[in-house]
C-alpha cells in the first residue's frame, strides 16, 4: 500500500511518501505563499528518489484546514483531481491535528486579526477545535505549539512527517471526492454585503 501525504494549509509544504506505514521519502519546508509553485517540483523529486510512478500511489492524505484559504486549496485541488480521475482513495485530517500528532498539547495557528485557530488534543483525541482571540489564548495555561510567537514565545513546529504517519488511525475517508471543500473560518454568506 503506497500513500502520498500532502499539507499546504499553513506555512509549510509537507510531502510524505509512505509504503505500508514506512516513510520512504519526505519533504518538509517553510513555503509560506510558495506552495503553489514548489509542490510539484518537490513531489516529482521525491517520486524519482523512490522510483514511483503516479499510478503506484494507492491513497492520498491531505489536510483540510483550518489555515490559509489559498494554501489549503493547493493540495486539495491536486488531491481531488488526482483521486477522482485515477480512482484512488482520499483521506483528510485537520490541519490542527497534524500539528498535534499523538501528543497531548494545544495548537494555535495564526488566523490574523488577533485570532487563532485553536485545537486541544490528548494523544490523538480531539478535545476542542475552534477560533480564539489572542487574549483568550493568553489566559490559558496549556502546553501550546504552533504560532506561539503571537504570544511572545518562540514558534514551535512539530515533526509533520512523523505526525502524518502516526495519525493514520485518525484519517477520515472522503466518500464524495467531488464534494470535498476546505474548512474555512468564515462562511461564504459572511461575504454578503449587508
Amino acid at each position: 500500500m503506497k500513500t502520498l501525504c500532502m499539507d499546504t494549509s499553513h506555512r509549510y509544504l509537507v510531502l510524505v511518501l509512505m509504503e505500508n506505514d514506512e516513510i520512504k521519502a519526505s519533504k518538509s519546508m517553510y513555503a509560506w505563499k510558495k506552495q503553489s509553485e514548489t509542490i510539484f517540483v518537490e513531489l516529482i523529486n521525491l517520486m524519482e528518489a523512490v522510483s514511483w510512478q503516479p499510478d503506484d500511489i494507492d491513497e492520498v492524505v491531505i489536510t483540510v484546514g483550518p489555515g490559509s484559504y489559498t494554501g489549503i486549496r493547493i493540495a486539495m485541488s491536486i488531491a481531488k483531481v488526482f483521486c477522482s480521475s485515477k480512482k484512488k482513495t482520499l483521506y483528510t485530517i485537520s490541519t490542527l491535528q497534524l500539528y498535534a500528532g499523538l501528543d497531548t498539547c494545544s495548537v494555535m495557528l495564526d488566523a490574523r486579526s488577533n485570532r487563532v485557530y485553536y485545537g486541544k488534543y490528548q494523544q490523538g483525541k480531539c478535545l476542542a477545535e475552534g477560533i480564539k482571540t489572542l487574549d483568550e489564548i493568553k489566559a490559558l495555561s496549556e502546553n501550546m505549539i504552533g504560532d506561539v510567537s503571537l504570544i511572545g514565545k518562540e514558534d514551535k513546529n512539530p515533526d509533520f512527517v512523523l505526525n502524518f504517519k502516526e495519525l493514520r488511525p485518525y484519517y477520515k475517508k472522503v466518500d464524495n471526492i467531488h464534494g470535498l471543500v476546505p474548512r474555512y473560518l468564515k462562511e461564504e454568506s459572511a461575504y454578503l454585503v449587508k
Binding site: 503553489s36 509553485e37 509542490i39 510539484f40 517540483v41 513531489l43 516529482i44 503516479p54 499510478d55 484559504y69 489559498t70 486549496r73 493547493i74 486539495m76 485541488s77 491536486i78 481531488k80 483531481v81 488526482f82 483521486c83 477522482s84 480521475s85 485515477k86 471526492i177 467531488h178 464534494g179 471543500v181 476546505p182 474555512y184 461564504e188 461575504y191 454578503l192 454585503v193
Partner: protein
C-alpha cells in the same frame, strides 16, 4: 497529420471550465460550471468566493468533460491551462488541476494567456487570417490587439483605468439593475434613446481607452438632474452611457484598422455578446475590405474550449510549460516565467 487532442482548464475568474478540442476546431466537450448565480447574490465577483467555488467544482468539471468526450486523459496530447491574467486564488485551482493531470498522465503542460484564448475562440467558427486586429472587451479587459501571426501579439491600445465590463457593472449598480451589468444595460438601452450628453472619455495613446471618467460622468449627471428636480429616464441613461462607451471603442478600433493593413477584424471577450456593439461593428465593416468576425454568443464568455484552441496552436508550435510555472494574475503576453 496526426490528430491533436487538447484538454484545457480555465478558472481565471468566475467560471470553472474544462474542454477537450480536436485539432483546434472540433469541440469534443466544453463543460462550464458557471458561478453567476452565486455572484449575482453578492453583486459582483468576490475573489475569495470565486476561489471557493473553483475548488468545489474543479474535479467534477474535469470528469464531466472526459465523459462527454468519451475519452481518458491518456487519449489527449497535452494539457492547456489559463495561467493568467485573472484572479490569483481562482487561477491557482486551475493551474494545480492542470499540473495534476500532466503529472499523473505524463502529458505536456501548456500555459495559456487568457486574452489570447478569447481571440482564438474565433477559430472555432472560422479560420483566423493574419495579420488581424482584435478588439478584446470583457469584465477585466479592453484592448486593441494586433496579431501578425498566430504566435505574435501586440497591444496597440488598452484601457487606462476601468475595463468596459467593469464600467457597465458600476453603472448598472447605480441604476439598480443588478449584476452582471452588461446584459442588463444592453437590454434596458433598447427601450431608450441616447439623449443625455455624457463626457467623452479622454486618453493619452491614440488607441487607448478609458471608462472611469464616463462612469463618474453618469454619477454627476444623476446628481445634477436630482438637484434640478428633473426625472431621469433610466432607459435613456442606459442608452446614453452605452452609446458613449461604444462610440469611444469604435472610434479607436477604426483608427487602428485604418492604420494597419489587416485581413480580419475580430471581436473577443464577454462584452462581445453586447448587441449594440455587434450592430455597430456590422455597420462599420459593411463596406470595408477587412473580414469581420463576430463570435457566437456561446464562446464570448469564459470557457475552456478557447483555451484548448490557443493550446493547440501553442502545442504545434512546440511551446511547453514547466511545473515551476505558477499562476500569474497580471501575466503579460509572451511572458516565459
Amino acid at each position: 497529420m496526426k490528430d491533436v487532442v487538447i484538454l484545457a482548464i480555465e478558472s481565471s475568474c468566475d467560471e470553472s471550465a474544462c474542454a477537450i478540442v480536436k485539432n483546434g476546431k472540433e469541440i469534443l466537450s466544453n463543460v462550464v460550471a458557471t458561478q453567476i448565480e452565486v455572484h449575482e447574490k453578492f453583486g459582483g465577483v468576490l475573489p475569495e468566493v470565486a476561489s471557493r467555488l473553483h475548488v468545489e467544482k474543479i474535479s467534477a468539471v474535469v470528469e464531466e468533460a472526459l465523459e462527454e468526450a468519451k475519452l481518458s486523459v491518456d487519449d489527449v496530447d497535452a494539457i492547456a491551462y489559463t495561467r493568467g491574467p485573472g484572479l490569483i486564488g481562482s487561477l491557482h485551482v486551475g493551474v494545480q488541476a492542470a499540473k495534476t493531470l500532466a503529472w499523473a498522465y505524463q502529458k505536456p503542460l501548456i500555459p495559456i494567456h487568457h486574452i489570447k484564448a478569447h481571440i482564438f475562440a474565433n477559430h472555432l467558427i472560422t479560420d483566423l487570417k493574419f495579420p488581424l486586429l482584435s478588439l478584446v472587451v470583457s469584465g477585466g479587459h479592453s484592448e486593441i490587439v494586433l496579431m501578425s501571426d498566430e504566435g505574435s501579439y501586440e497591444i496597440l491600445g488598452q484601457t487606462q483605468d476601468d475595463a468596459i465590463g467593469e464600467a457597465y457593472d458600476k453603472v448598472a449598480r447605480v441604476l439598480d439593475l443588478g449584476y452582471p451589468g452588461g446584459p442588463k444595460i444592453d437590454k434596458l438601452a433598447k427601450d431608450g434613446e441616447a439623449v443625455y450628453k455624457l463626457p467623452q472619455p479622454k486618453t493619452e495613446g491614440i488607441y487607448d481607452l478609458s471608462f472611469s471618467g464616463l462612469k463618474s460622468g453618469v454619477l454627476q449627471f444623476i446628481d445634477r438632474m436630482k438637484r434640478k428636480g428633473e426625472v431621469i429616464v433610466d432607459a435613456n441613461l442606459a442608452a446614453s452611457f452605452q452609446e458613449t462607451a461604444l462610440n469611444e471603442i469604435m472610434e479607436k478600433l477604426l483608427l487602428a484598422v485604418d492604420h494597419y493593413d489587416v485581413k480580419q477584424v475580430l471581436l473577443a471577450g464577454g462584452v462581445a455578446a453586447n448587441s449594440a456593439l455587434r450592430k455597430k461593428m456590422e455597420t462599420a465593416f459593411e463596406n470595408r475590405q477587412e473580414e469581420l468576425v463576430l463570435p457566437p454568443l456561446w464562446c464570448c464568455t469564459d470557457n475552456a474550449a478557447m483555451v484548448a484552441v490557443a493550446g493547440y496552436f501553442a502545442f504545434i508550435n512546440g511551446e511547453r510549460g514547466t511545473f515551476e510555472q505558477s499562476a500569474k494574475p497580471s501575466l503579460r503576453v509572451n511572458e516565459e516565467n
